[in-house]
């Protein structure tokens, strides 16, 4: 499989969110603001890419029996790095993300890519696979955040775009809307996919 196929697979036809709704817990909670979502998904992307790279590079050294716990530790190592970097560079964002940065560890996509791809591919290809998986994840969550922030606050990236007279839709800031909008994005994507398949 070439780099281009991997890209298409991970961002569209085999998008981790569309196919199995994997790993949304940690990110769905922060989709009411684009800035938070962007930083959170960049974190996920970086962790997926680098842990896939590391798992692939070490695959011949890790005994098969303990590979799960080793993968978890590798992922946790990168998440700690992301957490420390955020605290140092973006203390505000780090505060508003709360515990969700730490929860990147239990994001099933990362473990899934390590298991399904990195175990049997070269480090460079695994890095690319992890990066594009993160990208597929990012664009879906960013679309949700776009709708939620626009209608919930009337802003985009904290910049006011809707006129003063606009009454914010409070429901968009609250939890249920995250589920509704994700379902809508899924509906649209699935409809396109069904058409492609037909």
């Amino acid at each position: 499989m070439g780099m281009k196929d991997i890209f298409k697979e991970n961002t569209w036809s085999n998008n981790p969110i569309f196919i199995q709704i994997l790993g949304i817990c940690s990110t769905l909670a922060v989709t009411n603001k684009l800035t938070n979502t962007l930083i959170m998904t960049i974190g996920v992307m970086a962790v997926t890419a680098f842990s896939s790279l590391t798992v692939s590079a070490l695959k011949s050294l890790i005994p098969h029996k303990v590979r799960m716990i080793t993968q978890t530790l590798i992922i946790a190592f990168y998440v700690i790095l992301v957490d420390i970097l955020l605290k140092a560079w973006f203390p505000e964002v780090s505060k508003s993300l709360g515990p969700y940065v730490g929860l990147i560890i239990t994001n099933c996509i990362i473990m899934g890519r390590a298991e399904a791809f990195a175990q049997s591919n070269t480090p460079l290809l695994s890095f690319w696979d992890g990066l594009t998986s993160g990208l597929g994840y990012m664009w879906v969550l960013m679309s949700i955040a776009f709708i939620r922030e626009l209608l919930g606050f009337g802003t985009l990236f904290d910049v006011r775009v809707l006129p003063e007279g606009f009454v914010p839709w409070t429901i968009m800031v609250m939890a249920p809307s995250a589920f509704f909008i994700l379902a809508m994005v899924l509906w649209i994507a699935k409809t396109f996919m069904n058409k492609e398949a037909a």
Binding site: C25, C108, A175
Partner: protein
């Protein structure tokens, strides 16, 4: 400073108003994939509740008496996840010895709990909100029960949806997410009762 909230209020809040799943989005993966059938949903809910209660207590003690004195709080992600994995592993062995019937019923769900983000999430909330020991245990138990309640309710609703005419693009996960959204809205109705923090 630990927040000023009575254990009873915290207990009610963690089940209803700040339900770990519907308000904090934690434990979604297994929530969506296991909720097709009531029996397994309930089994997983029970297992999550037990593991959450035990790990909340242990993680609290580890944080207060090991990580903070040694000044290695930044290692908490790794330590918490190891504690969770160890508790799940031990519970598996204990249940297998004491009640093979329960072990058979829970069997496949126990290992899944290690990667359930609700468990790690509760540990991290406890740390961020500076709960006391009693508060931590109550919060862990309440969150577990809240998760259990939510998954049992969802599995009951999904039984009905199976027979409903759903648009092709919305089948499966799509309609399940919309259902969860409605459940979350219903749970917001409790929010006048107590607030957590």
């Amino acid at each position: 400073m630990s927040p000023d909230i009575t254990p009873i209020a915290l207990f009610v809040a963690s089940i209803f108003t700040s339900n770990i799943l519907l308000a904090n989005f934690l434990g979604m993966c297994s929530f969506i994939s296991i909720s097709k059938d009531m029996t397994s949903a309930s089994g997983l809910g029970l297992a999550v509740t037990v593991v959450l209660t035990i790990t909340s207590a242990i993680n609290y003690l580890v944080l207060q008496y090991v990580l903070i004195p040694l000044d290695i709080v930044y290692l908490r992600f790794i330590v918490f996840i190891i504690v969770i994995a160890a508790v799940v592993q031990m519970l598996e062995m204990i249940i297998d010895r004491i009640s093979p019937a329960l072990y058979m019923a829970l069997g496949i769900f126990l290992p899944l709990i290690t990667v359930n983000c609700a468990i790690l999430g509760v540990a991290l909330f406890i740390e961020i909100r500076h709960y006391t020991f009693i508060q931590s245990v109550v919060y862990g138990l309440g969150s577990g029960l809240g998760w259990w309640l939510a998954i049992v309710l969802l599995s009951a609703i999904r039984k009905k949806i199976e027979k409903a005419p759903v648009p092709a693009g919305l089948k499966g996960p799509g309609i399940t997410l919309i259902t969860i959204g409605f459940m979350a809205m219903a749970f917001i109705g409790f929010s006048g009762m107590v607030a957590v923090q």
